[in-house]
């Protein structure tokens, strides 16, 4: 089967073929989802260096889990569930290793990222930095929910589906995450202003 033909196949069928021991078919899945996977990893990891390693780990984990995927169900939510759960485990592993929950966004916010990142433009406002800092301090499960909601722009129903929890639970996690961010901004005097006071 040549590549152009493969590119027209639905995700569900490609996943089934790849699970049957044809990793070349998985390459097309990687091509379709690489950006979404990377962006989730970037937000969950908090820095570009870990993001690449995490994205690789997530894609490999998706491949390993393919035999458990039921082709009668939509592929994207299943993939996002594997990816977000893998990120959650990696976050917890990193917290155990480093003894702290997170270390990534400080690097980005300080402008010390080793790669060019167009987001530096956005991060030039202290308010954005404060928001990202507040996200970093969130419980990993709350962060997972809010990242899926705002980075992936999923509906709450889709977030619930990806996380495998009831709708009300998913909604509650997103709400608690947003309230935590808001409280953190208020503590730092950023809630009603475009710019926080420097040096806080």
């Amino acid at each position: 089967m040549d590549k152009p033909a493969r590119s027209r196949l639905p995700d569900e069928l490609l996943a089934r073929i790849a699970a049957a021991g044809r990793p070349d078919e998985f390459e097309e899945i990687v091509a379709r989802y690489r950006t979404r996977v990377y962006r989730i990893c970037y937000r969950m990891a908090g820095n570009v260096e870990d993001a690449e390693d995490w994205a690789q780990e997530c894609l490999v984990r998706v491949y390993r889990q393919l035999p458990h995927y039921k082709p009668s169900l939509p592929f994207a939510p299943w993939l996002l569930r594997v990816v977000s759960n893998t990120c959650l485990n990696l976050m917890r592993g990193r917290a155990r290793t480093t003894g702290k929950r997170e270390n990534g966004l400080g690097e980005e916010a300080a402008g010390s990222s080793r790669e060019f990142d167009p987001e530096q433009i956005l991060l030039s406002t202290t308010r954005a930095r404060e928001i990202l800092g507040a996200l970093e301090s969130l419980n990993p499960t709350l962060k997972q929910a809010v990242v899926l909601r705002v980075v992936e722009d999923l509906s709450l129903r889709e977030v619930a589906e990806v996380l495998g929890v009831p709708l009300q639970t998913a909604a509650s996690r997103v709400r608690r995450a947003l309230e935590s961010v808001r409280m953190r901004l208020r503590q730092n005097g950023c809630d009603d202003r475009d710019e926080c006071e420097v040096g806080r």
Partner: protein, 283 residues
């Protein structure tokens, strides 16, 4: 209907995902409750602020697909072997235990190293590049043998990592292997076959161990024998008076070389690989 009930459903209402019945109740309540109205405004504002800050335009690096697919293809080979096992529960368990015992026995006796007839072609990663010359690396390794490892002060993995950072255009690891009795005594960026490589030097008793790291896309592994052991594929062999262990991780090849016995070197290489898996010693 209490304020608590309404506030629990605000996020669903704001997302347009509350049921019609719940949405109507929320609207009726908000019309007469200023506290819940303020909470709704604050939640909507927080959601918009977070969305603006968090939405990202970053794009994955071009190497991501290659790295992921190299690992997937490597694992696919292992999965193929696994499928050959019995599908029935108990016999499958017995077969797995027996395989594990055999692997452990073979590992400690060095039998896998000696049995050249059981060769399986190695999966060459980055085969588009030039094949790595182990003889060339042995020469590089030999240059250090004149110096006694014991006479060289130990260096910190972190400081060495910083020193080497940015000097080679591929991902590498600087590892502390003190728990395995190997003391990091130095390292640097060098050239092999016209390509940049990283070389770390360890003192292991009276011997020296070199750990070379190369870009798998530029210098491919030589097609030798391979041994499957706890995940990664190792190539174990001898060149001249040196033992070597070669393995691949992501898009980086690792070549460990020393005059110690191949079994001991494999043990050390496996420890290094495990340390990398646990995220230790990155650069």
């Amino acid at each position: 209907m209490t304020c608590r009930w309404v506030q629990d459903r605000l996020i669903l209402y704001l997302a347009g995902e509350a049921s019609q019945r719940d949405a109507a109740k929320v609207v009726r309540h908000l019309e007469r409750c200023s506290a819940c109205m303020s909470a709704a405004e604050a939640l909507a504002e927080a959601q918009e602020a977070v969305a603006n800050a968090v939405r990202t335009s970053v794009v994955p690096p071009s190497t991501l697909d290659q790295r992921a697919m190299a690992q997937v293809r490597s694992e696919s080979l292992g999965r193929h072997w696994a499928r050959a096992r019995s599908p029935i529960g108990l016999p499958r368990l017995v077969a797995a235990c027996a395989s594990a015992c055999l692997l452990v026995l073979a590992f400690w006796s060095g039998a896998l190293y000696a049995r050249r007839t059981a060769a399986v072609p190695v999966q060459v990663v980055g085969s588009g590049g030039e094949t790595l010359s182990l003889a060339g690396l042995e020469t590089l390794h030999g240059r250090e043998l004149g110096a006694s490892a014991a006479a060289v002060p130990s260096v910190g993995a972190e400081s060495l990592s910083k020193l080497l950072s940015g000097k080679v255009p591929f991902k590498f690891h600087v590892l502390a292997l003190d728990s395995q009795g190997a003391r990091l005594v130095g390292g640097g960026a060098e050239t092999a076959q016209g390509q940049p490589i990283v070389r770390l030097t360890y003192g292991l008793g009276s011997e020296t161990v070199s750990l070379f790291q190369t870009d798998a896309m530029k210098l491919a592994l030589p097609a030798l024998r391979q041994m499957q052991h706890a995940g990664p594929c190792y190539v174990v062999g001898k060149i001249g008076r040196c033992s070597y262990v070669v393995w691949c991780r992501g898009m980086t090849n690792y070549i460990m070389m020393s005059r110690v016995k191949p079994e001991r070197l494999l043990e050390l290489a496996h420890s290094a690989e495990r340390a990398m898996s646990e995220g230790k010693g990155s650069a």
